[in-house]
Symmetry: C2
Subunit: 581 residues, 2 copies
Amino acid sequence: MTGRTERLREFFPILEWARDYDRGNLTGDLTAAAIVTIMLIPQSLAYALLAGLPAEVGLYASILPLVAYTVFGTSRALAVGPVAVVSLMTATALAPLGLSSVTEYVAAAGVLALLSGMFLVAMGALKMGALSSLLSHPVIAGFISASGLLIAASQLKHILGIPVSGHTFPEILVEIFVQFGRTNVATLAIGAATLAFLFWARKGLARALVRKCNVTQHFASTAARIGPVFAVIGTTFLTWALNLPELGVAIVGEVPTGFPPLGLPGIDTSLISQLVAPAILISIIGYVESVSVAQTLAAKKKQRIGPNQELIALGASNISSALSGGYPVTGGFARSVVNFDAGAETPAAGAFTAVGLLFAALALTPLLFFLPKATLAATIIVAVLSLVDLTILKHAWDYSKADFAAVFATMALTLTMGVEIGVASGVAVSLVLFVWKTARPHVAEVGQVPGSHHFRNIHRHQVLTDPAILTLRIDESLYFANARRMEDLILARVHRNRDEIRHVVLMCSAVNEIDLSALDSLEAINQRLRDLDVTLHLSEVKGPVMDRLKRSHFLDHLSGRVFLSQHEAFHGLKGADTVAA
Amino acid sequence: MTGRTERLREFFPILEWARDYDRGNLTGDLTAAAIVTIMLIPQSLAYALLAGLPAEVGLYASILPLVAYTVFGTSRALAVGPVAVVSLMTATALAPLGLSSVTEYVAAAGVLALLSGMFLVAMGALKMGALSSLLSHPVIAGFISASGLLIAASQLKHILGIPVSGHTFPEILVEIFVQFGRTNVATLAIGAATLAFLFWARKGLARALVRKCNVTQHFASTAARIGPVFAVIGTTFLTWALNLPELGVAIVGEVPTGFPPLGLPGIDTSLISQLVAPAILISIIGYVESVSVAQTLAAKKKQRIGPNQELIALGASNISSALSGGYPVTGGFARSVVNFDAGAETPAAGAFTAVGLLFAALALTPLLFFLPKATLAATIIVAVLSLVDLTILKHAWDYSKADFAAVFATMALTLTMGVEIGVASGVAVSLVLFVWKTARPHVAEVGQVPGSHHFRNIHRHQVLTDPAILTLRIDESLYFANARRMEDLILARVHRNRDEIRHVVLMCSAVNEIDLSALDSLEAINQRLRDLDVTLHLSEVKGPVMDRLKRSHFLDHLSGRVFLSQHEAFHGLKGADTVAA
């Protein structure tokens, strides 16, 4: 294979798997596509409503993006489309624009997808996938859980049939509390029944099917996954048959049939600048969510996904969503798991799902007229509550207070200030605490573990020491934020046993970097110790650090030596003293 | 000494040195005070003009702050008052307020000093002195040099006698270039002559005095330091005698005699919120500059200064400056060095200087009427150019590209975007590069140095290895920003020799922290290696890291063992293999 073909394959992973595509793949992919299509119809409508968009926009956002991911994506099971968190973030981004008409609102959502897609492609081209690692696991976990709670709360209004305008968790709860008396009974009946059915479907349906209908476990759990479809069919029928809209039950109403013409969304250019920051945040969150799902599924089949190529693939998906009347999309957890479990072998399953959804958009939308919004809200609530995992709080608390602070800040601020501030604060808190910790490093006074060449903390191990030799192991890279502190700490320690100490050895096994500020501090330490007639030595300096020290004048000024190992330092200096004595 | 007295002494260092004050101290302090007073009169006038304030405000800012520092300060030689960089920052902070009257402008400068003082005292009370360590040495050096160039450029208009309104280095140079033809010849003559004299005084005067007048080296260099006073007297006399204002030479003019009434500066409260951010920045920069000077001088006499008490002292100085009609102050380099060289023994020298300056404010100001502004500008130019040290660029480039990036960003942005953006960018660049570096850590494959218990990089040293045992030394704390990368890197390395490797040992001597995200990655590595029938071991895990691992379930899942030393790991596993073979 020439280098050029290889690069082409890297950019179009489809060339890799399409070559060996066979009948076995086709069967698996078609089955998975059929199941995912059925599951996605209510889900995509529901998420569009969550984003504040007309229901059909959810369908549009589920078709071309799937095809784009089929061409560019590296995961064999990921299903791209509207997801809960990104839909919520879309609503948050569009709310402050104050758009009056639905057309404008839809166009703005399209622009958001376009900007997000362009940003993702640019990140991919620059191989900046690693940037997403700034989101720590606790921050992601906290953010997803808090978003789940926020989304569930925001859907309660549809279950109760009351208007709620708040955007934060406390605002929403207070409004619901105040207006509880105005609950629409028929809406609540539909909503509560759907919720009850969906919760049961998730837990009990599969078990009941296996026990009573004698089907396989696999079939039963797939049937349980498409529970929302039964709820949609059942409640739509009931609403039509009992004429529930007359009792105040809100329904989806007329959904246009067909597919919008392809083209760029039209929007007042002055609004674009306001959408850039939200688009970047949506891109990063969407990317992290998608890559986590893809990696989890790939690990099960020992496949690998390419983080930078995934940026390109998600970027292409968002751009195609923008061109086809959709809104921001990413790889979703639930849909990908269903796709995987139902036997998807290659990304072609996604393309087949797209065909199924296109058919739905062209032919099935009239059937959705009597679909109650409460049903869709119940679907969302059940889906997002499964994302909520508050045990991360206890887990982080037990393991490390810094991790707890990050997850707590993320959750508290997401619930009270919104998703954008929440996630940004989580990242900021994580970084600040990291710098804070490295600025206050652990320093251990060490001695020799008897009978070994190993040196450990004198307070934790039984070790041999020499009163004339003070050995300090510095447990951090030396850099500007801790250089001065280290200087004070070492000199203060020497002053405590000023009469005995003849040598100070800095054991640098954990010093991965010495920057220019720290070099100045080392020079100062060397000079101050020289004034006290104490010699400064270094031991176990790593290769890259030593290379850099050699480029400075520090080693010329150093009063003592640089030892390869702490063992050599300790025994070399003990010897020197005996001779001197 | 009771604990209470000790705490009192910590808060009022004056109690410490005043107890043992003797005639020797008095002589030294009085001599130093006399010299510093003479030097400070022109300097404080000049810096006030640099800040855009009437000249007398510089005198006011030099009196009470010195007294406050005498009471609270821990440095024995630091002289507090107006300094170049803080004066420039004051001008930058006040310019956007658009104040029309001089009275309002002076009041706003006072408020800036008050806010800065309150912030410093709060930082001191919270023992937050370490926060200033976020300013790395290269950032400070770059900032001081760039500020020096900026200040020198800003003073050229006074030397040429042309109006210049730009605030950035390129703006100023362009305006001067365009208006060069409008230069006032008499002003240029005064300015250029003063510049020439001051540069000569700095370099040649001391040498000439020693050679021709047979004075001591010490006297000669002190005389050279007060060169500006001769320039002030000479040019003032000439301007009066030749009636130069008629030829367009700008003069200081009427300076009110006396001292303003003590009290809070009056200002529209709506302006206060705009001054908070600049006040914080001025506080931090001023503190860093002052503490560097104090520490340099203290080291020469083996004294120590207390960083947190210095915050209190500088805060008190700024508050007293605000109460007495002054503007933000800090410990200055030039004045402190002169004070030190002239023999100041205790902070009392500062109090004596304050008395001298009070006399100047009360009696000498009428003599300043004919003082040309060009003379003061020349004084500033010579003073600030001595701060400019462009070798830091080469020095940082040679040592580390990250340090170079920080110093370059600081200098370039200070010159082109102003001091506030410049220093903030320097800090941001330093932090981002630190995170960037730690996110991409060095990982060394290590083997045993023959005849020792020491393990080093196989690419740098002749070492013993075993094909069944892969030992990787991870040269960084494991945390969210590098966890995923580390996971990929370790697994990719194992895949390269998948058939041979039976054991992977992670040597953790440089791992100072494992956060929750990294713990998840370690779990994943353990699981993936287990799938490949490879055992994962850890060695040389530090005490604090081990404590934390014990609080998680990781050690229960770990397929291999945790060894105290890498030597034990290597020989233990080699033995295990022999048995297994």
